[in-house]
Symmetry: C2
Subunit: 208 residues, 2 copies
């Protein structure tokens, strides 16, 4: 009877994620992974396959836990724009608060591996699309609830916010100051409501 596996595959994937997130894909060696996951080579290959297959599993986990779970918070009923603002501020705060400023595993990997890794790039495209679609739903709801002006396009804004988040992560990784990053996020978010401050005046001028 074969010796039963003595490790928890979930924990092992979590440990592998931390190594890839810190070092990047190429710079992570099998030795790094074996040591972090506390596995011998045979167990790792038997359970997860090679480095590339393990990385795809790590990406799945990251997309479900770090991206999917967080984004699902946005789909609760209630005022949409304040929830969206809180969500984006929370993402930025947690990225700024990481002492290593590792940024987002997805963005890091797009930048490192695309365009010569099609399957990995596909996983990343899917995650970015999921982010965009969730933003779209919140913004469409905001519009229905009268929180967003009629002339705003929820799809265009959803793409804009997804892109902006990626850019913010690049800046955080490059070592930008927390103040500069927060100012930039506020500037970006002003697009959601910038015209609203002029609404009363317009209504007034229509009334005259």
């Amino acid at each position: 009877m074969p010796r039963p596996k003595e490790f928890n595959p979930d924990d092992a994937i979590e440990k592998a994620m931390q190594v890839f997130w810190h070092k990047g894909y190429e710079a992570t060696s099998m030795e790094d992974l074996l040591s972090a996951m506390d596995l011998n080579r045979g167990s790792l290959y038997d359970t997860f396959g090679d480095k590339r297959q393990l990385f795809l599993k790590v990406m799945d986990r990251y997309c479900t836990n770090f991206v999917g779970l967080k984004f699902s918070l946005l789909n609760q009923p209630g005022p949409a724009i304040p929830a969206l603002r809180r969500f984006i501020h929370g993402m930025i705060e947690s990225s700024l608060g990481d002492p290593q400023r590792r940024g987002c595993l997805i963005a890091n990997t797009v930048m490192e591996l695309a365009p010569h890794e099609n399957e990995i790039a596909g996983t990343l495209r899917q995650a970015l699309k999921m982010a965009e679609d969730t933003f779209f739903q919140v913004l469409a709801r905001a519009k229905q609830q009268g929180e967003l002006m009629e002339n705003k396009d929820p799809r265009a804004l959803a793409r804009f916010l997804t892109t902006m988040l990626q850019g913010t992560i690049v800046m955080i990784k490059s070592g930008a100051s927390a103040d500069a990053v927060k100012q930039t996020v506020e500037t970006a978010l002003s697009i959601l409501d910038s015209a609203d401050m002029f609404r009363p005046s317009i209504e007034r001028s229509f009334d005259t």
Copy 2:
């Protein structure tokens, strides 16, 4: 008498840049570099040092030619906002037009190597600061020339545009459609003038 060098160091650095840009830093081997630069190992080490030192020289070249030269076009007199729009559209078009969608060497490297490569991260921070400062100068000029509303902050907008460009490059590398990218850029640029469309109404309402 030693055999004179038969290669042009400028051309060799240009060739090394293409390899790093396509493959990323870690995935580029000395063999890749020797083959692309058409050098033997001795000439490469004598002239450029090791892979890391060569990469720092490549970064310098990229910052001067691809970033510095392009950005210097923004400092010419004349209407500032149209020049800024043309510049940003030009950057995006050229990035979308690259069949390999390699993105920006600077952003790629930030994402791959920061936070564990301080000297390289420093070069990148400098390049991003140069971009931000150039945007700031153009936007300050726009404000002086009455092209930007009084309530707009040129420094905040400069940081916003720098961040936005980085995010756009992540999206381009991830395989986003050209239409989606262009729509996002238009949405972002609307921040420069979004309030202006309401100006006449406000002035009218003040006049009444």
